[in-house]
């Protein structure tokens, strides 16, 4: 896996006059896992979507560098970032396998049907790959989201509440996914409310919603605290 570096500088977002995010900064390099914590409505999800390129930030910059090459083009970014979040949905008329095949095709991934079946097996959906996603339970959908994100196999992995609706085994799966991403030398950003899950990160940053930058602090959970943003440094 290629080496990656992500630098987020002072990202802010307002929807009109309503400010949902202010002054988030962060830097991470290959092998790191950063937990993004914060109360409900603090802007964690918005932050992840901004990094994924799904929402345009109102202020601040994000610099993605892969193998010393800066990624600027939206099409190039699609090949570098994958995302799994609660509002990621799939086509209910298509089977899980058809869904993944379709997304692999539009991304022109060099992946075979066997590879897609394997990634379904890996998230515990091996026997249900031919069922239409419309009949899936919420836990199965969550597993499919994980399969989607890992199938894309990108240096930057964004997980928003990955354990949502998952059983014990599913939670272990999330930890495995993150460990594998770390071993490959990728970066993982993990937005979570669960303090136990936040422990999976080497360190954590807190999204503090609309409040001023002065108050958005940074808490180190452990591990190599590299450069961090905001005022308080880990």
């Amino acid at each position: 896996m290629s080496s990656i570096r992500i630098a987020v500088e002072n990202i802010g977002k307002s929807f009109g006059a309503r400010r949902v995010l202010r002054g988030i900064s962060l830097e991470a390099v290959s092998g790191e896992v950063v937990a993004v914590t914060g109360a409900n409505g603090s802007g964690k999800s918005t932050f992840l979507k901004i990094v994924a390129g799904l929402i345009r930030p109102s202020s601040g910059t994000i610099t993605l560098t892969v193998d010393d090459r800066e990624i600027a083009e939206p099409d190039a970014r699609r090949r570098v970032v994958s995302y799994a979040g609660p509002d990621l949905a799939f086509y209910p008329e298509l089977t899980a396998q058809e869904n993944l095949s379709f997304f692999a095709e539009v991304r022109t991934l060099p992946i075979t049907l066997a590879g897609i079946k394997n990634s379904l097996v890996a998230v515990g959906l091996g026997g249900r790959g031919d069922d239409p996603v419309g009949v899936y339970s919420s836990g199965m959908r969550q597993r499919l989201r994980l399969a989607f994100a890992t199938m894309l196999d990108t240096p930057l992995l964004l997980l928003d509440e990955p354990s949502l609706a998952l059983d014990k085994e599913g939670v272990r799966l999330v930890a495995q996914t993150i460990e594998r991403q770390r071993a490959k030398g990728g970066v993982t950003l993990l937005a979570t409310n669960d303090p136990e899950e936040a422990e999976l990160g080497d360190r954590a940053i807190t999204a503090n919603g609309a409040r001023s930058q002065t108050f958005s602090t940074l808490i180190a959970v452990g591990g190599p605290a590299l450069v961090s943003g905001g005022i308080g440094k880990g």
Partner: protein
């Protein structure tokens, strides 16, 4: 530049999801058939109207494009509206390029409206008895190129409407003024194909309709190009 593999994937996905539910297919087909029925009821009622050939042809040309416009407005907006409603737009935006998404959906929409036109056009023309002097080749060319223009503009307008909360009727409202030049030429061309202002035979009808075909072709080219360029900005927001 625009990968064929990606366009093909989007196109096939559109067809496959539509084929499993057949919602757009059945609703638009019923819409078109219902329209033809009403037109026939109005014009073939008792006492019978004594319309001459050119009048019947003109009425048929007008009704055909009214029918295709509203059939399109019923069915073609789904392509993007569904992605937004079900939240699949997110996964699509994470993986697919703007050009592939737009072209794939445009092709699927064009196929849908062309299919409907193939059913509705002969039905309407026989129902109104407007085909006595028909030039089938010109009619096919006019209807096909007109449908491509409608599909392009409505696929683009559908992407805009998908962002709005109240969607009903909005697609027709947005696309009608943009489609006006197309309809002017398409109705004129259809009238020519049905023998208005021409005498029988291939050459005269094509002489009258050539200008219309040129307008329809340039409309298709301009609308596809403009939609592709603008959609790129919207998709990579």
């Amino acid at each position: 530049m625009w990968g064929v593999r990606e366009i093909h994937a989007v196109f096939l996905k559109e067809l496959r999801t539509e084929w499993r539910t057949k919602v757009a297919l059945s609703s638009t087909a019923l819409f078109a058939i219902g329209g033809v029925t009403l037109a026939a009821l109005a014009l073939r009622g008792n006492p019978p109207l004594a319309l001459d050939d050119p009048s019947r042809a003109s009425v048929a040309a007008g009704l055909l494009w009214i029918l295709l416009f509203f059939t399109g407005a019923t069915g073609l907006g789904r392509a993007f509206a569904l992605e937004e409603e079900r939240g699949t737009a997110l996964a699509l935006r994470l993986t697919a390029r703007a050009s592939a998404v737009w072209i794939g959906k445009f092709l699927a929409n064009a196929l849908l409206i062309l299919g409907l036109a193939i059913i509705a056009t002969p039905m309407l023309i026989t129902a109104l008895d407007a085909g006595r002097n028909v030039n089938a080749l010109l009619l096919t060319c006019v209807v096909a190129s007109g449908c491509i223009g409608i599909a392009a503009t409505m696929t683009f307008a559908g992407a805009l409407v998908a962002q709005a909360s109240a969607k009903s009727g909005l697609l027709a409202t947005l696309s009608l003024p943009a489609l006006a030049p197309l309809f002017v030429a398409a109705i004129h061309g259809t009238r020519a194909a049905l023998g208005v202002g021409t005498r029988l035979g291939i050459a005269p009808a094509f002489q009258t309709g050539m200008g219309d075909l040129q307008v329809l072709a340039s409309y298709a080219v301009i609308s596809v190009t403009a939609a592709l360029m603008l959609f790129d900005y919207l998709w990579n927001d």
